[in-house]
């Protein structure tokens, strides 16, 4: 990532609330770099996704190279490098959910939202035209007893059927 690229992006800085949260975080670890994951979570919550400007800012705050931040961002599936919809819908499709027909739920969501499933390298593929939803498949969400499950942003929805999915989407 070259410096020119970073400069054309809108610069990023924590807002007051996140700055306070960040200051509290940094005191927890003997080295600043260790606060990487929680800091990126804060930044992503504020900026929507991790832009090069965010990476540069986080790198400055943690006193590491931008490359190290990029290294971490590309490793973890929960960090997005592309814009995502207002609601990120994560559909679990690992074995226990698959045994309870998560495929039906996924197909229903695809049809209802009129979008494909996002892949990790192409989030736009799973994002609706109005940027309201991003549909993606994820691995086990550790709720196999109430399968099939989906997560919409921070909330878990259990024992789904196409009818329940309709109800949930209508109430968002």
């Amino acid at each position: 990532m070259s410096d020119e690229l970073i400069q054309i992006e809108t610069p990023f800085a924590f807002n007051e609330e996140n700055q306070r949260a960040f200051d509290a975080l940094i005191g927890r670890y003997p080295v600043k770099e260790a606060a990487m994951l929680p800091t990126l979570h804060l930044a992503q919550r504020q900026a929507g996704y991790i832009t090069p400007a965010v990476m540069k800012y986080v790198a400055e705050q943690l006193e590491v190279s931008v490359m190290k931040v990029k290294d971490v961002v590309t490793f973890y599936p929960m960090f997005f490098e592309e814009p995502v919809g207002e609601y990120v819908i994560r559909v679990c499709h690992t074995l226990p959910c698959a045994l309870q027909d998560c495929q039906v739920v996924l197909e229903h969501l695809k049809e209802k939202l009129g979008t494909d499933v996002a892949s990790e390298t192409n989030l736009a593929k799973g994002t609706t035209a109005d940027s309201k939803f991003t549909l993606m498949k994820v691995e086990c969400l550790a709720s196999c007893d109430v399968a099939p499950v989906i997560m919409i942003n921070d909330d878990l929805y259990k024992n789904l059927t196409p009818e329940k999915v309709d109800e949930i989407l209508d109430n968002l």
């Binding site: 080295v31 606060a35 994951l37 990126l40 490793f75 599936p77 074995l95 045994l99 007893d145």
Partner: protein, 491 residues
């Protein structure tokens, strides 16, 4: 019918047990108070050793033994609580975090006291937003009540607990991967040795324990070792003379999902069989059990011939499988094993951290082979190779017989065994993720070979009846020699 024995989960459904005051009404923190009032740190470590508590996270390593490896003279020492519950089929930690977080804090306090630890990091997987919120609130309360922070309860102990969110990587549940991730790097596991007990997070001695293991500590301290060891079987390890006790003590939070009527977490004494467990979980949904995965998706599968295998650490190891994290997935006669394996292999191909070549390239390769078989394009050939015997002309020579080779099945086994060899139990990767891939791949294929062969032969997925699909134990080396371990008390 086996009865539930709720200890960790006893007060789980009490309303507001997540608050300090209600937890306090149910003996909350009295076990920690007992520990600091009546015992020296060494006594606690000895109690844990004597209780035979085994790590509940997957490896089943003795907790007391792990603690004994930590050097006493290097400070600071850290505790990492592993709440990165990502193994498919496992979901018991989620309920502890969301409903009874103070129990975990009490367990952490006891561990910190025993080991002289001042800082604990609870590594919670990123998707557990509610669990993290509840634990954070409980930690805040514990600070306010003086159970955390400087000079805890006037004892001079300083104990801090911090939560650290993960970001969706399965491999961070591996202890050294967790440590790397905690240090703010990619969660790629480290070579062992040095073991984390000697050189862990920030280069200091580190104890890594699962949530469930830590939650056992208050009860061991509160009710005593004798009470604890009465639960679960203690086997005799006859490899040494005289035999040494091999404890499988305590209860286990069995997470049962798949084709049962009432899936959920059931807390039972260790050592009951799959048949009993299915009965506890409301019985089988369907006609017949086709297969049971005993310890999360990385555990080798059990067939209907092995339903009498006791689900504890020792018995399952002898059955060439493992209890792992206790995530039990039941499949009935309608399930296709090829399809199930494909799902699991997709999971591992996605979750490989990419550090070691055999795993980085091997996992997608195995997935592609299974995908090919499932799509009906599995490779098979009929080959003629010299097969020596008495030929038609009555003389010794090539008999001209042909042999049918399922190339893809041989390839599958070969690729999987080159990530990690399940027969010799050696792996060509840094961490045990390698064996977690080849265990299911090879065991499914060996135990349900007819179903794989049928898929290749017919060019589509064919679900055979349970009897037809399963290879009987007599014909197959995927099974152990089946003997029932003898209880120590019987000797």
């Amino acid at each position: 019918m086996a009865e539930e024995k709720r200890i960790l989960y006893e007060h789980l459904d009490v309303p507001d047990i997540n608050t300090f005051d209600v937890f306090r009404q149910y003996d909350g923190y009295t076990r920690f108070e007992k520990a600091i009032a009546e015992y020296q740190p060494e006594d606690i470590a000895k109690m844990v050793m004597d209780s035979g508590l085994k790590g509940r996270g997957g490896a089943g390593f003795s907790t007391g033994l792990k603690w004994s490896f930590v050097p006493k003279d290097i400070k600071p020492c850290y505790l990492c609580c592993n709440a990165d519950e990502s193994e498919p089929g496992t979901f018991s930690n989620r309920y502890v975090l969301e409903k009874n977080p103070h129990l975990l804090i009490e367990g952490i306090l006891i561990c910190c006291y025993a080991m002289g630890i001042e800082t604990t990091y609870v590594y919670i997987r990123g998707e557990f937003t509610l669990g993290k919120k509840m634990l954070d609130a409980a930690i805040k309360e514990a600070y306010e009540k003086g159970y955390l922070g400087k000079d805890v309860r006037g004892t001079g102990l300083n104990i801090d607990i911090y939560t650290h969110p993960g970001a969706g990587a399965y491999i961070c549940g591996e202890e050294t991967g967790l440590i790397e991730s905690l240090e703010g790097k990619r969660g790629q596991p480290r070579n062992k040795p040095p073991f984390p007990a000697v050189e862990g997070v920030f280069g200091k001695p580190t104890v890594v324990q699962n949530v469930e293991t830590l939650c056992n500590l208050p009860f061991i301290v509160g009710n005593g070792v004798e009470w604890y060891t009465q639960m679960g079987p203690t086997y005799a390890d006859t490899r040494s003379d005289p035999p040494t006790p091999d404890p499988n003590t305590g209860t286990k939070l069995y997470c049962i999902s798949g084709d049962v009527n009432e899936p959920g977490v059931y807390e039972l004494e260790l050592g009951l069989t799959s048949t009993e467990l299915i009965e506890v979980a409301g019985g089988l949904r369907g006609e017949e059990v086709k297969a049971v995965i005993p310890g999360g998706s990385s555990a080798p599968i059990l067939t209907h011939y092995e339903l009498d295998t006791r689900l504890d650490f020792t018995s399952l190891t002898l059955a060439k499988s493992m209890l792992g994290s206790g995530g039990i997935i039941v499949m009935n006669e309608t399930r296709n094993i090829v399809d199930c394996l494909l799902n699991i292999m997709k999971f591992y191909a996605h979750e490989s951290c990419g550090q070691c070549t055999p795993c980085r390239w091997g996992t997608p390769w195995v997935r592609d082979i299974v995908q090919r078989i499932a799509d009906g394009n599995g490779r098979k050939s009929t080959i003629t190779r010299p097969k020596f015997g008495v030929a038609e002309n009555g003389r010794w020579g090539d008999t001209g017989e042909t042999e049918e080779i399922y190339e893809d099945l041989d390839l599958l086994e070969s690729v999987a065994n080159n990530i990690a060899n399940v027969d010799t139990m050696t792996w060509n990767t840094i961490c045990v993720f390698g064996i977690a891939v080849s265990w299911p791949a090879v065991s499914y294929m060996r135990k349900f070979r007819p179903e794989f062969e049928a898929a290749i032969r017919e060019g589509k997925l064919v679900t055979l009846s349970v009897a037809e699909a399963t290879v009987p134990p007599e014909e197959n080396y995927a099974y152990q020699q089946r003997f029932v371990p003898k209880e120590f008390a019987d000797l």
